[in-house]
């Protein structure tokens, strides 16, 4: 666990970057720090591994005050990923990943073996290891950055807008990978971003900062979206925050029934019973089938695009399991909101 107690940071030029911050970042969970630029979120992150020293207050990692430890040794025990990866241009991918193990005094062979394992963990082909960073795409570099941070198996991972410089498609892939990795590794992750959607997707808890280094609200994504503490938070989350809340709920509990027969539109299946499109006398509209794990937001979106207002639902193998109406989705969406407001 990481604990901030009454932490202040004033820079020599007089600006206050972080104002009286007390915050807990639970062990094995993802804490996302969000806010517009200059709100102190990156400074907060960088105080954890002493890249920035607090002016007053204490920061503890695993119960130990960070300022009482040797800075270099502390940093080796904390993984760090930055935007555009910050890889060493003169070292191969493998040697980049092996950086911290080598600093810790591992043998070169052991460090390289570990690095090769991590390449696989982050989904990169083995032959990437001999290449240099400039020979990789932005997304691949970012993966190497994550592998490098994980190399010495640190319990804590600091990620400073790690996916800020890649295109939206790759960004989504990297977020998925991070969630998959986190399921396996359960690191204590502190993640800085200015993207609300990214925060909602990745965070177990989200801390929202306002200019001047004030923490405004820290809560689980559902609670934050359902009950923003003030207008600032509500504005920051955006007008469509109700829809964002739906992105957190899955379709699993929404009932389904058999596909309708005899209307103007019929659902056409292929020979393996997988939905293909809605067909009428003179039109065909493609179907994007949904699974139980898909979000209510995706279901709502698909039901609006569907000519019948029905969404096609499939099992893990893609075979049709039933259909669900727009009304049922609406009803569950409404319930989800009410629940979040009441229980959170």
């Amino acid at each position: 666990m990481i604990q901030f107690d009454a932490v202040h940071k004033r820079f020599p030029n007089g600006t206050t970057a972080v104002h009286d911050l007390s915050l807990q970042m639970p062990e094995g969970g993802v804490t996302v720090l969000v806010g517009s630029s200059g709100c102190g979120k990156t400074t907060t992150l960088r105080m954890i591994n002493r890249m920035v020293e607090p002016t007053s207050g204490t920061i503890q990692v695993g119960g130990k005050d960070v300022t009482r430890q040797d800075a270099a040794e502390l940093r080796r025990s904390i993984g760090y990923v930055i935007q555009q990866a910050g890889l060493f241009p003169h070292r191969t991918v493998l040697d980049n990943i092996a950086t911290v193990p080598l600093l810790l005094g591992w043998s070169r062979r052991r460090a390289r073996t570990k690095a090769a394992e991590l390449l696989e963990t982050v989904g990169l082909p083995a032959d990437t290891g001999r290449r240099y960073p400039h020979q990789l795409s932005g997304g691949q570099q970012q993966r190497v950055g994550v592998a490098r941070a994980l190399a010495a198996d640190p319990p804590v991972l600091l990620m400073d807008e790690p996916f800020g410089a890649v295109d939206p498609v790759v960004r989504t892939q990297l977020q998925d990978e991070l969630l998959r990795l986190q399921k396996e590794l359960s690191k204590t992750i502190v993640f800085v971003t200015h993207d609300v959607d990214e925060a909602v997707r990745l965070g177990d808890q989200i801390a929202i900062f306002r200019t001047g280094g004030h923490l405004v609200q820290c809560a689980a994504p559902a609670e934050l979206l359902a009950r923003p503490a003030d207008d600032f938070v509500a504005d920051f989350l955006g007008a469509e925050r109700g829809l964002k809340l739906l992105s957190l709920k899955t379709l699993a509990e929404v009932p389904q029934g058999p596909a309708p027969e005899g209307g103007p539109w019929s659902l056409v299946l292929d020979e393996a019973n997988r939905p293909v499109h809605w067909a009428s006398k003179d039109a065909e509209i493609p179907v994007r089938p949904l699974r139980d794990g898909d979000s209510l937001l995706a279901a709502l979106n698909e039901s609006i695009a569907s000519p019948t207002g029905l969404i096609a639902r499939v099992d893990a193998t893609g075979v049709l399991s039933g259909v669900t109406s727009r009304d049922d989705i609406h009803q569950h969406a409404g319930q989800a909101h009410t629940e979040a407001r009441v229980t959170a």
Binding site: M51, L74, Y80, P89, T92, L103, Y132, H134, Q135
Partner: protein
């Protein structure tokens, strides 16, 4: 102007000795220059107020005429190889110091940040991150300093040294062009070969710059 080929044949031993002596003076100067400018450049790079002073000083030293510098050194080290090497070293400093400082400036901030954040201590960062990444710019300086020193050695003929430069005085005094031409050709060859070797060395030392994707 005709070349007396038989003179060359009769003096191959002398020519070899002079060439090696020439090369030794130039390379020693560059080597010492690098040894002096690396730490000075680190200081100039890290301590901003000293930067202008150190670079300015190396510029001022460079403006001293080459003959004058040897003459100034005579009371200290006399008519010796030391005088030649010290004089040449002073001249190499202007390029070596400036290029090393600029090389260190050119190291991406992100790479230095990352090194620090991974828990690399400052000295190790300097040796394993900053110097390697500054190497291309430093090597450009070393190449200029080497070629410049090879051409400047001849000036030390005035204090009785000068390697291949001795061929020039010999030729002028006897009004006999062959040694002069041979001296010029050998100096040029030395410079070209030394430069090519440095290019090769840089290629070997910077594998990450080879396969530009």
């Amino acid at each position: 102007m005709t070349i007396d080929w038989s003179w060359i044949g009769d003096h191959t031993d002398d020519l070899t000795t002079l060439t090696l002596s020439h090369l030794q003076a130039a390379l020693t100067a560059v080597f010492l220059g690098v040894l002096i400018s690396l730490p000075l450049a680190v200081v100039a790079h890290r301590v901003r107020p000293l930067r202008g002073f150190l670079l300015g000083l190396s510029n001022v030293l460079f403006t001293i005429p080459s003959i004058a510098i040897f003459v100034l050194l005579l009371p200290v080290s006399g008519l010796t190889r030391t005088t030649t090497v010290v004089g040449l070293t002073v001249y190499t400093l202007v390029v070596l110091l400036r290029n090393t400082v600029e090389g260190l400036d050119s190291v991406p901030v992100k790479a230095k940040e990352a090194a620090k954040a991974m828990g690399t201590r400052p000295l190790r960062t300097l040796l394993t991150v900053e110097f390697p990444l500054a190497l291309p710019v430093i090597m450009a300086g070393v190449r200029i300093a080497t070629v410049m020193s090879i051409s400047l050695v001849s000036v030390a003929t005035y204090i009785g040294d000068g390697g291949l430069g001795q061929l020039f005085t010999d030729g002028f005094q006897r009004n006999f062009p062959t040694p002069v031409i041979v001296g010029v050709v050998l100096t040029l060859l030395l410079a070209v070969v030394a430069d090519a070797l440095l290019v090769a060395l840089q290629y070997v030392l910077t594998p990450w710059r080879r396969r530009q994707a």
